[in-house]
């Protein structure tokens, strides 16, 4: 479908050319004629220029050929000519074509350029003779406009005129003539005349024209010749000229047929490393026909930049034949190569590759096995039994890779496996990796509450030190069960658990931690933990989204429960930030606390000023702290 669409674009690049040939019968209704008549009335009258301009714009929709004479009068007006052409370009019919052609006889300079441009947009084949004459105009802008307009018309006489002119035209016009030639060649190609197209492109390539025109002609000459264009492609791919090398890279992506892939593969071995890296990317953009063996070979050995380019290319276009070579690269020592290879293995699009990788695991060991396990994790392949088995491997790095992969892949019903690895690791040295894996798994579980409940249950058998780590995991999971576990730990007899849990509660990310924190601040063990809980409670009041009465209630609770003036002063700051009448009342009430009196007065006055109502001032007066 895209191909068809693109072909449509080529054939009909100037939409208005189609408008010219469209039927206007259905459109010329009585209402339209009435509109046209009104709009022409504006043009004929001594109307302000703005009115005339907007009338032209509407004539572009509602006008007919009857409007052409009146619009033509505006083509000599420097300010309204473009407005007139808006209508003239849009209105179909030979009469408008004749009007524009006629106008070129008397117009000069920019106004002539504009009219010629419009003729080009309308692809008026009848204007070729008139426009061709303008190729020799002394005004380069006029001659250039004529050249491009002929290119847009693109019929045989226009093409002939441009091909003749490319050798003879003046330097300032030659670029536009070449552009016109390229447009003619495109039209010839779209019309099925590839031989003519190639011949025109060659004219331009050989002409003394700016390099960009040569670039366009080179691309066209290669594509028009199809497979026969391969030598020209390679010639440019080998060019010492960077721009020509670049156009070859780009054109290689557009050519059909696997001969191109073979040629690129050969070229790869001859190119300098910096160019080879780029050739590989071009090869990989040819997904349907890419020469994979060549890319695989480049990935396996050679200059590092070429290898990296090839490895990343394999991630995009590789298949099952690329797995073993990539695993080999991932087993090397260079971290950048390893990273690239693992990424490519994860990215390989063919889903059957996952099965191939799983099949290799029982047969592998050591570094290769670690790589395979890492790929299982990166590709999110569910393979719990295999991974669990690998957690008993004698090689520490294999066990670590297996645990990491479990964290990335294990489903909810397998969570117990990781909990066991955390609570009772077979190898003590694996504990840290297992904890990280459990955390990775836990935070992606769809049912966080069930996940937390299972972890809490498993925690019962853990040592105190491990319980601390598990609390950290539970905090990452969040939710009611995790919060309850924190509360229990905070009230336990174990100081290390009290420490961990109050610290985690202080950083809790949801508002439901507030009552737990307040309770701990009031009744919790030891001043140190009570203070920490109070700070956490105040943080919730300050940072979290809630409705004003809730925040006011929290601030009131905090001032009452806080045992240190420093904490109470933090609450006063919250009152000021979220100033309203309720906050003002709390501040006024705090004036009664002797250590807080001065700050509370200032806070109350600041709140009242921010609220700015009579009620607020009245409350200050009643409290005897009104500002003078």
């Amino acid at each position: 479908m895209m191909k068809r669409f693109k072909r449509g674009c080529l054939l009909l690049s100037a939409c208005m050319a189609m408008t010219v040939v469209s039927s206007q019968a259905a459109f010329c209704q009585v209402t339209t004629m009435e509109k046209e008549s009104d709009l022409l009335g504006v043009l004929k009258a001594d109307s302000p220029k703005g009115d005339k301009a907007l009338a032209c714009k509407r004539l572009a929709i509602y006008g007919t050929a009857e409007s052409a004479p009146e619009l033509a009068k505006l083509l000599t007006d420097e300010q309204l000519a473009a407005w007139a052409r808006i209508a003239l370009e849009a209105i179909p019919g030979a009469k408008v074509d004749e009007t524009l052609r006629k106008a070129t006889e008397t117009l000069k300079g920019r106004l002539l350029v504009g009219t010629i441009n419009s003729i080009g947009v309308r692809r008026d084949a009848g204007a070729v003779e008139v426009i061709t004459a303008r190729l020799k105009d002394k005004d380069f802008e006029v001659a250039s406009a004529a050249a491009v307009a002929l290119g847009r018309i693109g019929n045989a006489p226009a093409t002939q005129a441009l091909r003749t002119a490319i050798a003879s035209s003046q330097e300032g016009v030659r670029s536009a003539v070449a552009e016109g030639c390229v447009l003619c060649a495109e039209k010839a190609l779209a019309d099925g005349n590839a031989t003519l197209a190639a011949s025109i492109y060659d004219d331009v390539r050989k002409a003394d024209v700016p390099k960009q025109r040569v670039v366009e002609a080179t691309r066209g000459a290669i594509l028009a010749r199809k497979q026969a264009g391969l030598p020209l492609l390679l010639e440019n791919l080998r060019s010492s000229d960077k721009v020509l090398f670049q156009v070859a890279l780009q054109t290689a992506r557009e050519m059909a047929g696997n001969e191109v892939d073979g040629a690129l593969a050969t070229e790869l071995t001859k190119a300098s490393p910096d160019r080879a890296a780029l050739v590989i990317q071009a090869m990989a953009d040819r997904k349907g026909t890419v020469s994979l063996p060549a890319v695989v070979k480049a990935a396996g050995a050679g200059p590092k930049e070429v290898r990296l380019s090839a490895i990343s290319a394999l991630g995009r276009v590789g298949d099952s034949t690329c797995v073993a070579p990539l695993i080999a690269v991932a087993s090397e020592q260079d971290p950048e190569l390893i990273d690239a290879a693992l990424t490519a293995l994860a990215d390989l699009p063919d889903q059957t590759i996952s099965n191939d990788i799983l099949a290799q695991i029982p047969k592998s060991q050591g570094k290769v096995l670690s790589v395979l396990l890492a790929v299982v994790g990166k590709r999110r392949i569910e393979a719990t039994p295999l991974l669990v088995k690998a957690t008993s491997d004698s090689d520490k790095s294999v066990r670590a890779a297996a645990l990491k992969a479990l964290g990335e892949t294990i489903p909810a019903d397998g969570l117990a496996v990781l909990i066991t690895q955390v609570v009772a690791p077979t190898h003590a040295e694996d504990a840290e990796v297992a904890q990280l894996a459990l955390k990775t798994a836990a935070v992606r579980m769809p049912d966080r509450e069930a996940c937390a409940a299972e972890i809490v249950k498993g925690m019962e058998k853990a040592t105190a030190a491990t319980k601390g780590s598990i609390l950290d995991i539970l905090a990452a999971v969040g939710g009611t069960n995790a919060l309850q576990a924190m509360n229990v730990a905070a009230k336990s007899d174990d100081n290390s658990l009290k420490d961990v849990s109050t610290r985690l509660l202080g950083d809790w990310l949801t508002i439901d931690a507030a009552p737990v924190l307040l309770d701990l601040a009031k009744t919790g063990p030891a001043d140190k933990f009570q203070l920490r809980a109070m700070k956490g409670y105040i943080r919730v009041a300050r940072q979290f989204t809630m409705n004003p009465p809730e925040r006011a209630a929290m601030c009131k609770n905090a001032i009452e429960a806080a045992k240190q003036p420093a904490e109470q002063k933090m609450v006063l700051e919250i009152l000021k930030r979220y100033a309203d009448i309720e906050m003002l009342k709390i501040a006024i009430n705090a004036v009664k606390i002797s250590e807080l009196k001065e700050d509370a007065v200032q806070a109350a006055q600041a709140i009242a000023a921010k609220v700015g109502t009579e009620d607020a001032q009245k409350l200050l007066k009643e409290a005897g702290i009104a500002t003078k």
Partner: protein, 429 residues
């Protein structure tokens, strides 16, 4: 860009994205940095030489994204406003510790420089397509802000010109290089939502109008602000300071002023186009009803321009619905999914505030590799045609049907006349 977003280094972003969202979400054009020689210090001879045209608010943001790339050498600025030229030169010179950034009043002088390989075009939308094509014909690669075109005809010709001139073109559709939008499109494109039924785009102000003519005021000196160059391809009108200030909304729609369908559509519809695998634009566009305008692709999938009813995921929201699930994403960097199973155990990195850094990087990589960037001209062409056609249905307030092979509306003269618009002399497309 927020500081947080700035802190996310590209390589980390790529690593994270690859790790958490899988292959298909990232560009096929991402190449290891060392393979392209842009790790660490990049020798001046290996840098991509860039010039900027129309560097106002948005342009300055884009410019920052370019300047933070080690393999870019920014050498010249062109703007119709003197104050902007001076401000950009100051910024660039301070960045490089020299006084080498040249200033141009006429962009053609910048395009004539043989050393300039690529240009950033961030003028008002009135200029985008005309200037981009002029740059392509001058042999420059182009990063062009959106909306890139003023009408259907320009969209087609722009794509053709980029192909013909063998240039690299990146539309300023930077959301294509953000992981959460990429993941949403990936789910739709790869059938993870089941058979795709509907894609939704937010037009943010669904109206189509014709451009106007404001009263004449005394024009400033040409050196201060060049009114004629500012108008460029737009038909002449007298100087007016409001028009000069409103470079963004001025004449963006060609025959029609684009409104939200084009302004936001060039982002949201562009993402919808990616979700439908960058297929050609819809073939049928209905009149708007109840805040929605429904268009239909050739394969039956519906593209719905919807004003309201979005989840609160920030500006530029899109939603894709299949038979088995849905996904919605917005500028907050967040996704909402019909089921967490769609994540397949992954998490998607959240990057809010739609930074363009990654999009600029994608463009620069393609300037070197000559591959196609995410917001390439063909993709932009399709998305813009969808927006322009919807605008035409909106303007005519009735259904229009589009023939993809002929690139014309079927038996619809009024709609066909709105596909194109003459531009002011001496400019051409």
């Amino acid at each position: 860009m927020t500081q947080k977003a700035k802190q996310i280094q590209r390589r980390n972003f790529l690593k994270s994205s690859l790790a958490v969202t899988g292959t298909a979400i990232l560009a096929p054009t991402i190449i290891p940095s060392s393979a392209l020689g842009r790790d660490g210090f990049v020798a001046p001879s290996e840098r991509i030489v860039v010039g900027g045209i129309g560097i106002g608010n948005r342009g300055n943001y884009d410019l920052d994204c370019f300047l933070e790339q080690k393999d870019v050498q920014f050498v010249g600025v062109c703007d119709v406003k003197q104050s902007r030229r001076i401000a950009v030169k100051k910024k660039v010179d301070e960045k490089y510790g020299n006084v080498d950034c040249d200033m141009y009043e006429d962009f053609r002088q910048l395009l004539e420089r043989k050393d300039v390989e690529a240009v950033l075009i961030a003028t008002g939308p009135n200029w985008h397509a005309t200037m981009a094509m002029q740059a392509a014909r001058a042999g420059k690669d182009i990063y062009c802000e959106k909306p890139c075109t003023k009408n259907i005809s320009q969209s087609l010709i722009l794509a053709e010109t980029i192909r013909r001139t063998a240039r690299v073109f990146q539309a300023g559709t930077q959301r294509r290089n953000l992981p959460h939008f990429a993941f949403a499109c990936y789910l739709a494109r790869t059938g993870k939502l089941g058979k795709l039924k509907r894609v939704y785009a937010h037009p943010a102000g669904m109206q189509a109008m014709m451009s106007g003519w404001l009263p004449a005021e005394t024009a400033p000196d040409k050196q201060i602000a060049d009114w004629d160059m500012y108008l460029g391809p737009a038909a002449w009108r007298p100087f007016n300071s409001k028009t000069l200030a409103d470079g963004f909304n001025f004449e963006k729609g060609g025959g029609l002023v684009g409104g939200g369908v084009l302004e936001w559509g060039s982002h949201c519809v562009d993402l919808c186009q990616w979700a439908v695998n960058d297929c050609p634009p819809p073939i049928e566009y209905n009149a708007p009803a109840n805040g929605e305008l429904m268009a239909r692709y050739e394969n039956g999938v519906e593209l719905i321009f919807r004003e309201n009813g979005w989840k609160k995921l920030g500006s530029c929201p899109v939603r894709f619905e299949g038979e088995d699930g849905w996904v919605e994403a917005g500028d907050s960097g967040k996704l909402e999914l019909s089921s967490p199973t769609l994540l397949a155990g992954r998490s998607v990195i959240e990057i809010p505030n739609y930074p363009a850094t990654f999009h600029v990087r994608d463009f620069l990589d393609c300037v070197r590799s000559r591959s196609q960037p995410k917001g390439n001209a063909d993709a932009a062409c399709n998305a813009h045609i969808a927006c322009h056609a919807a605008n035409i249905a909106l303007f005519l307030n009735r259904q229009v049907k589009y023939d993809l092979a002929k690139n014309e509306f079927i038996n619809d003269e009024a709609a066909n006349r709105l596909r194109s618009e003459a531009i002011r002399e001496p400019w051409r497309v």
